[in-house]
């Protein structure tokens, strides 16, 4: 009798504990309201335009072979493990056996083969197809020559194994596997619905969340994907991505309690100081893999083709003023091209740029005199930037820093589309540009100074630099490769190939009751790790 009572008591107790645990879990799980500074172009990754806000939505609803933890470290994703051949050209991934699309259909290697072919099919005109160019035949396929099925990817072992053949070894290949261009595509629904597979009534995804509703310019709603292999570890019920282009409005909505996270970018540069004072726990800033620099046009006949002029212009700039006064700490001053923070890589700069200002100015004046310019015979420069208050403030400040050298600067500001079209054509002397990394590797920045690369707006060209870059590309050992890249960067900085100015800082507002958010260099924050305090 006694035993029965205690057994009953235990049962009752455990039942009540279980129900308690259940209710508390329910209270914890919530829908996350996230503000994003722009709108997703499409759930079809081949149609994506490349905004940071787009990457956020896509990484929450899809998952590649490799995924990221809150700090940005790599973890197995759709693949449980992988091997690379000795020559570094063949990667074999084993697909997770319980990986499923949100309709319960298993994710197989065929979905990856199909997705990558879709990305490279010229008919789909993907802006980001070049990310997969390291794969055998990828570039040729995108150029319309061989058929997409000649791509160097294979589904083996009944779709349980995905094999990739590369043209050359790619040291950052695992990192590349987290990019949206390497996501799988639900072959079964694309074949069924065609381009309508992305419609909210048809869409299936393989990530922790899946979209249910999309009002253009307003919000995208997603719910937790119950078929996600790790669904039990996902705390949120769903996420609403609020598209808020106006960053002042973003802050108002965060302050009004309508948003839990304001991301990419959470607030305008001008509000950094006041937010740090009024919402110190919510305001997050962290180094980010992005730079801000001035391009120097080095095409023949340009005054900036003269090394002395390039050097003088760079020497005369007071980067501390740009960072502290104009950007109020929302950017960091730099004299290197690659932002710091890439593990194992030491950004290179020109030592002359760290001399005291008075010395630099003196040297700059002398250099300009040698080049034949002085306040009496001024150098007339056209400085181009895309219309934006912050860009303008920088341009005005820099042109006044150049004044003592005898430089008369004319500011040409145009909207972004015209700006980039003009500088791509070489229609400028000096121009504003910036770059945010596609993947966490210095090569992604340094390629911007290689001969003939489309984004090398200033047409800087140095054989030795190109050779170092090629050597680095063929080196599998990370340490050695970074050394070669460091040499290349040093060379370009000694050539004054560009004027490095600032490195970017990520700006986010995060509710202090949120767990699982870690500031990181890529500013990637997969929501599957996010939860609320109890």
């Amino acid at each position: 009798m006694k035993a029965t009572t205690s057994l009953l008591g235990t049962l009752l107790f455990s039942a009540s504990v279980a129900s308690l645990a259940f209710t508390s879990q329910q209270a914890e799980a919530r829908t996350l309201q996230m503000g994003l500074g722009g709108e997703l172009a499409s759930f079809d990754t081949s149609q994506v335009a490349g905004g940071v806000w787009e990457a956020q939505v896509l990484m929450d609803v899809f998952e590649g072979l490799v995924k990221k933890d809150p700090k940005g470290n790599l973890l197995p994703g759709m693949a449980t493990d992988w091997v690379v051949s000795k020559d570094g050209k063949t990667w074999t991934f084993r697909i997770r056996s319980n990986a499923k699309w949100s309709d319960g259909t298993p994710v197989t290697a065929d979905d990856f083969v199909f997705g990558w072919q879709h990305m490279l099919d010229p008919k789909n005109a993907s802006k980001y197809a070049f990310m997969l160019y390291p794969v055998k035949n990828a570039k040729a396929i995108n150029e319309g020559k061989p058929a997409p099925d000649t791509l160097g990817v294979k589904s083996l072992d009944d779709g349980n194994t995905f094999q990739v053949t590369l043209n050359e070894p790619v040291p950052y290949f695992e990192e590349l596997m987290t990019h949206f261009t390497a996501y799988p595509l639900p072959k079964h629904t694309v074949e069924k619905y065609g381009t309508d597979w992305v419609k909210m009534s048809n869409i299936v995804t393989n990530g922790a969340f899946t979209p249910t509703d999309w009002v253009s310019q307003s919000s995208i709603k997603t719910v937790k994907n119950p078929d996600y292999y790790d669904a039990r570890q996902v705390a949120l019920d769903g996420i609403v991505y609020n598209n808020i282009e106006n960053l002042n409005a973003m802050v108002s909505r965060y302050r009004g309690g309508q948003l839990d996270i304001a991301h990419s970018h959470g607030f305008p540069v001008t509000q950094l100081k006041s937010l740090k004072r009024t919402l110190p726990e919510d305001t997050h800033t962290a180094p980010w893999l992005g730079n801000e620099y001035y391009v120097l046009n080095q095409r023949e006949g340009e005054p900036t083709a003269d090394l002395r002029v390039r050097k003088a212009l760079s020497l005369a700039i007071r980067r501390d003023i740009l960072a502290e006064k104009i950007s109020q700490g929302a950017f960091d001053a730099t004299t290197a091209f690659v932002p710091s923070g890439i593990h194992g890589y030491q950004p290179q700069s020109n030592d002359e740029l760290s001399k005291p200002y008075a010395e630099r100015l003196k040297e700059a004046k002398e250099l300009m005199k040698e080049a034949g310019y002085s306040p009496e015979h001024p150098l007339n420069l056209h400085l181009r930037f895309n219309s934006d208050d912050w860009n303008r403030s920088n341009a005005v400040a820099i042109s006044s820093m150049w004044q003592p050298l005898g430089v008369k600067t004319e500011l040409d500001n145009t909207e972004a589309t015209v700006h980039y079209q003009s500088i791509a054509r070489g229609d400028f002397d000096v121009a504003r540009a910036g770059w945010v990394a596609d993947y966490n590797d210095p090569q992604n920045f340094l390629t911007l100074m290689e001969t003939g690369v489309g984004n090398n707006y200033g047409a800087y060209s140095n054989n030795e630099y190109d050779k170092l870059m090629q050597q680095a590309a063929a080196t599998m050992d990370q340490g050695k490769r970074y050394q070669l890249l460091e040499q290349a960067e040093k060379l370009a900085m000694d050539d004054y190939a560009v004027i490095p100015l600032l490195t970017q800082v990520s700006r986010n507002l995060v509710n202090p009751h949120i767990n699982g958010w870690e500031d990181n260099i890529s500013d990637d924050h997969p929501s599957r790790w996010i939860s609320f305090d109890k």
Binding site: P122, S218, S219, N242, Q258, T417, Y420, W435
Partner: protein
Amino acid sequence: MLSYIIKRIGQAIPTLLIVITVSFFLMRLAPGGPFDGERQLPPEIEANLMAAYHMDEPLWQQYVRYLDGIAHGDFGPSFKYKDFSVTDLIWQGFPVSLTLGAWAMLVALIIGLPLGIIAAIKRNSAVDYLVMGIALGGIAVPSFVIAPILALVFGVILAWLPAGGWHDGALPNLVMPVAALALAQIAAIARLMRASMIEVLGSQYIRTARAKGLTPTEVILRHALRPALLPVLSYLGPAIAAIVTGSVVIEQIFGLPGIGRYFVQGALNRDYTLVMGVVVFYAILIIVMNLIVDLLYSVLDPQIRYD
């Protein structure tokens, strides 16, 4: 009357054709294209994009293709919002702008008309100066000043209303954008109403009405109001068309998914099809609104007959 309407619709077709043609070519004349951005595209990728959007064809062929599409009710795909067609976007955004605009216009009329009438009756008095002073302020202070202030005071400091968002048009989300939109309209309507009321009140037949011994209220409501409304009415046609096609500023600041933003966003992105779609839609709306106003004229003013 019916034949008049048919005639007007007939006239509208060439008007629309001119609007389409001019905006199509103006858009293409603007420097920069839909694929120019921060990143230079590799040439083969740019070629693929040009082919996908038929931009590799001669311009006249693109124009013919566009006209053919419109004739079949197809505004084409958006260059930027890839998962939506331009028609989808307009039909998704227009109800939002229409709801906002209709509320704002209603509020503006309910407040603006009586204010204008009162100012006219009490001409050159303290009341008149006060009303007109406020109206001048309403016109002079732009919405991009008013809207953030409203959002800050009522959305953040007092936290009475959501600082932004649409929420399927929930009332609390509507209050601030409607107020911000209505303010300038209240001012414009009050000023117009006052001016035309003063003019009407000075005319012979009002003097006759007064001489008949009618009370001031009767004079205003029965004799002065109808003719005094005519200038307001002709203002309302285009004003309604403008307000229901959305306000870029209000939509941006309150994060509302109307079509106003497409005007600016579309133009900045060189999203040719989206801009064209919105322009054509706007043109149709203006033509329709003007037609309605002209028809209402004949109701208000017996001298006007369309037969």
